[in-house]
Amino acid sequence: MQNMSGMSRMLSLVMVFALGIWVTSSGLLSEIAVYEEDILYLLKQHIILVAASGGAAILVGVPIGIWLSRPIMERSAEMIMQIFNVGTTIPTLAVIALSMTLLGIGFAPAFFGLFVASLLPIVRNTYTGLLAVPRHLKEAAIGMGMTPAQMLIRVEFPNALYVVFSGIRTALAVNVGTTPLAFLIGGGGLGELIFTGIDLMDTGMLLAGAVPTALLAVFVDFVMGQAQLHLVPKGVNPLR
């Protein structure tokens, strides 16, 4: 296992190095560098879209997941989850398009579309994570005299946190990958360089959008992975 990851790390380093040589020798780097100003401006738009829609999805999705897992929701929760599940089968491009028909063009429909697309994994993981907390832990907590709120905060949520984090990680990966589509409904972002590059058959412009998008996705996933490693309590964290 250790050896495998070491091997693959070596391999990816070699590949990045080879890519670097190829990009420089073919003159692509200078072609990309032409768009430096655009990249920075659009990257900022892109990050704002990801952060705003992803953050909103976390702030809304986690409480919804908690609410669905409460005993009072026991009967209706599964049905509501089914509605959410049907929701995920809609392709994100369709979600964005539908969002445009409702909200017009610009930041708002892009934000809303991305928010909806990333909401589901968060709700689902929060819900299933909380339901998976062993029954005997809840019995011990109640028997010791915890109030429902104390039980949620001190026992249920910490024990579900690893699963919740996995949901957030998936949601943000979807979010970052979908954000270039925001350009199609006037939401801005790096999609502008990518789609225009495709239309003009301009490889430099295309890469000027695609490479930062890819790097951002890797970076976000890395940050989330680190957060999962360090924020989930040691006793319930399979990574530690």
């Binding site: 019995e139 028997g143 010791m144 005299g145 915890m146 109030t147 026992v155 910490p158 024990n159 006793g235």
Partner: protein
Amino acid sequence: MIQLENLTKTFETPRGVVVAADKVNMTVPTGEICVLLGPSGCGKTTALKMINRLIRPTSGRILINGEDTADRNTIELRRQIGYVIQQIGLFPNMTVEENICVVPRMLGWEAKPAKARAAELIDLVGLDPHHFLYRYPKELSGGQQQRIGVIRALAADPPVMLMDEPFGAIDPINREIIQNEFLKMQATLKKTIMFVSHDIDEAVKMGDKIAIFRGGRIEQYDTPDRILSHPVNAFVADFVGADRTLKRLRLVTAEMIADPGTPAVARGARPQEALQAAKAHGGRTVIVIDANHRPVAYATVEELSGAHGTVGDFAHPLPATVPARADLRAVVSEMFANDVMWLACTDDQGRFAGVVTQPAVTAMLGQSSGQPLTN
């Protein structure tokens, strides 16, 4: 003191009404362990869980130290009752110390005394505080986890404890050790304890009283000895087992039926002295002791009569001795192993403390009342 008065619980199920507890009446005196015993589905756990209101009684009352629990705030009530479950239920996200401090902190203790209490308790069950306080439950063995489960329930020093098959998931060797540890703790703590078990041996060992349940009713509520010697009906007799008389052996220690008057003489004593002592006592054997008062050999009246020299010349070495504090099961086992009718027992210092005979054992088992077993 815990009192259950006409405690009843019925559940509505699709297949009709199920009665889990049917007018249960019992009193557990302060400082005693009462074991609720019965086959699964007999209502013992339901009865237990009604005490801390995890299950709401349909009717009837529960009084703790004379106070009706229905009048009290449920959350506060639970914080004053120690609760141990079979699955232990240590919170995996918290360290051992945090687990122990849960109830004290909810009761408003400062962090410092709560932590001091955790260290004190962990020491009490023979675990090293430096080693264990900052570990997570998953890093502990099953036996260690169960010890922590018990002391977590004791953390806020509750007068009453409820234990739902607390040692059920532990291997037999560790279970025995933890049971002994717990009984030792209970001897000083004197908690009032309701203890659910399905194991008659555990019940006999742990209980001051045993309540045998069937179909939500108490079939018999009595001391372990009375339950074993006088089962009230065929169900109880069947449940405690065909070897119930042998099980009573565990309830009695050797010193309770040993005859301390059996003559003991030094190796160098004259046979005449030994004979006189034996005659005064009425027995046919004298025990030979060494300078430290340890039993080492025996001689019979027949061999000694008319003999010359010292007792030591006629003595045979003792095949075995037993500690006076051993239970009769161990004593009888030792007798059978050595094919003898009697054994000398020794006190904690190894000194001669009397003789246990097979007739004395059978007389004890035959005694109709299991009460004071002085010989």
